[in-house]
Every structure is written in C-alpha cells, then in structure tokens.
C-alpha cells in the first residue's frame, strides 16, 4: 500500500453504493475524511473550484475499478495534502465491538495507509464510521467513539 495522508474534504458526488454516499438532500455535500493514496485521475471542474477523480476503497484489489467522485476542493489544496508529511503513521480508533455503541469501545491501532474513509455518524456527533483495509482483500467497516476531526488530528 502506498503512503497516504488523511485529509478532510466535502464530497459533492460519490458513485459508490448507487450514489448513497452523498444523499440527495445533502445539497452542500457530505464531510468525509479521505486518503490521498486512493486518488486517481484528478481533473479540475467548475472553473477550478471543484475537482473530479476516481477513488479506490482498496487500491491493491484488482476488483476495485475506482468510483467517480467530485470534491469541493481545488487542485492546489489536494496537492498540499498529497505532498504533506504526517507526523504519525497510525491512529488509535476506539472501536465498538459488533458496531454496538452500547458496548465498551476497544482502542485499536490502525495504519493511516489502510484507512479508506471516515464519516460522522448521523445519530451522534461524537461517533463516526471508519472503513479500512485489513490487508489483502478484507474491508472492515467499524463504528468508532471518535470524531473524524479527532482521527485527523492524530496524524498531525
């Protein structure tokens, strides 16, 4: 897996799971924590204010063709994240067992290179969903007692 940097971004369109990653009622987009090592074929659109690209959940999986995505970010901003050097290469996620928030979360260390995305839980602002690659072809989706900002700050 290539070295990646986690960065916050507002996703305007994401052709994954039939576009449900950004619901129709979210006219301003949805805030995600993404990873630079999953970006490909970035192009400017909307007079340079936005960018289109293909995003891979698992770039090492030959079955992953990449999903079309539109970000509310300029190319210069993406370049700054791609060329950044994070202080820490892993983050500590407080993962709820069985994705059950009534249980006690377990601190789990995950490499930032393996994290595909993080998005806030719509039920509670104190939690977020994290999708990461557990090596090979396995993709894990876990509920964490972290905010996306907390995860991002751990890398800085």
């Amino acid at each position: 897996m290539n070295k990646g940097v986690l960065f916050p971004a507002t996703v305007l369109k994401w052709q994954l799971k039939s576009w449900r990653m950004v619901p129709e009622w979210e006219a301003s987009g949805v805030s995600y924590l993404l990873n630079t090592n999953r970006l490909d074929s970035i192009r400017e659109t909307n007079v340079g204010a936005d960018t289109t690209m293909y995003y891979f959940l698992n770039p090492d999986d030959h079955r992953d063709n990449g999903d079309f995505m539109v970000l509310d970010a300029t190319l210069a901003v993406l370049y700054s994240f791609i060329d950044a050097t994070p202080t820490h290469a892993s983050v500590t996620l407080s993962i709820y067992p069985d994705n059950d928030y009534t249980q006690t979360p377990v601190d789990t260390e995950v490499l930032t290179d393996d994290i595909a995305l993080a998005v806030g839980d719509t039920i509670s602002a104190a939690r977020c969903w994290v999708v990461y690659v557990a090596k090979g072809f396995e993709i894990k989706q876990v509920l964490c007692n972290n905010t996306t900002a907390n995860i991002w700050f751990q890398t800085l």
């Binding site: 630079t36 090592n37 490909d40 970035i42 990449g66 060329d83």
Partner: protein, 183 residues
C-alpha cells in the same frame, strides 16, 4: 520513490514489451522515464568506459500474475542508489492528456485540446517518446488502481516530464514544425 530518465538497451520478457526496443534502436538504446518503486535486483555491469546495470522491472507490482521484465540501462549501481534515495518535487503530476491518444482531430486536422489530469507518481510505469513528434509528445503507461492499465499520449516531451518531476514546472521550451497534410 522517484521517476528517472534512462537509456534502455534491453527490455526482455514474455510479453509485448520485448518490442519496446526496436531492432534499429538496439545499438543506441531508447529513452524511458522509469519508476524506482518497480525496480528490484539491481546488478552492476559497468566497465571502465561506460556505466551500465541490469535490474528486474515490474509493470504492475500489485498484480499477482506479474513476472518481472529484464532491463539493462545506462546507469551504474551507485547512480541507481542515488536515484532511489532522491525525492521528487511532488508526489503527484499534472499532465496534459491528449484525447483519443491522437494529436490531430478532424476534419482538416486541427490539434485536439489536451485535458490536464493529475495522477500520483506511484502509479506511473513508464514514459517513452512519441516517435512521430518526440519534441512535443510522449507516451505514458500507468495503472489505475491495482489492475487497469492505461496508455495515454501526453502533450509533453520526455525532457518536460523530467523537469516537472524535478522542479514542478517545465523549464524547457521546444519548437516544433507541424506538417499539414494536404488533401
């Protein structure tokens, strides 16, 4: 991880890449821009008169079916070590992709407008000259994700690509004469 310009004298494997060095280029070699993240088993073949080394090169190191190609290039082992330790200006490249891999459109052959596209350096397999107009175009082969091989024509020369990798901008100016086909 970095990209570097090298003259390749041999490129051997069981696939089509055995034709990447044509018969008339075996004496002079052919220039490629290669990626250090695809190299392994470097061996020094230098003599007193020339720098030369061989290594195994993977077009797609993420593919389990990959069997590496054998290359001989005009670099010594020491030079290769220095290149591997070097750092590019940026981890991404913004390149003008030529639509339909063809500079000319239709009718009356106007130039097609290239589309600026940014890719990560990690995905690049190689750049090589576009034989009809090497001063203005080159071929790029890169992998989108782990499986999909993309070959595109880029509206830069190899020297322009080298400048962008090292400095972030093209510092060279090239002039070209365009041959207008008469109907």
């Amino acid at each position: 991880m970095n990209l570097f310009l090298a003259t390749v004298w041999k490129w051997q494997d069981l696939r089509d890449s055995s034709n990447r060095i044509s018969a008339r280029e075996t004496a002079t070699g052919r220039q490629f821009i290669l990626n250090t993240n695809r190299i392994t088993d470097i061996k020094d073949l230098s003599t007193l008169t020339e720098n030369r080394c061989s290594f195994l090169y993977a077009d797609n190191p993420s593919d389990r079916r990959e069997s590496c190609s054998f290359l001989e290039v005009n670099k010594s082992q020491a030079e290769m070590e220095a290149i591997i330790d070097s750092v590019p200006h940026s981890q991404a490249l913004t390149l003008p992709f030529q639509p339909k891999k063809e500079p000319w459109g239709a009718p009356c052959f106007p130039l097609r407008t290239p589309v600026d596209t940014t890719i990560g350096i990690w995905s690049v397999t190689y750049f090589t000259e576009y034989n009809p107009d090497p001063d203005n175009y080159c071929w790029l082969c890169y992998y989108k994700g782990a499986f999909k091989r993309i070959e595109v024509l880029v509206n830069y020369s190899l020297e322009d690509i080298e400048d962008i990798v090292e400095t972030g901008t093209t510092t060279s100016t090239t002039t070209s004469t365009t041959e207008v086909r008469e109907q």
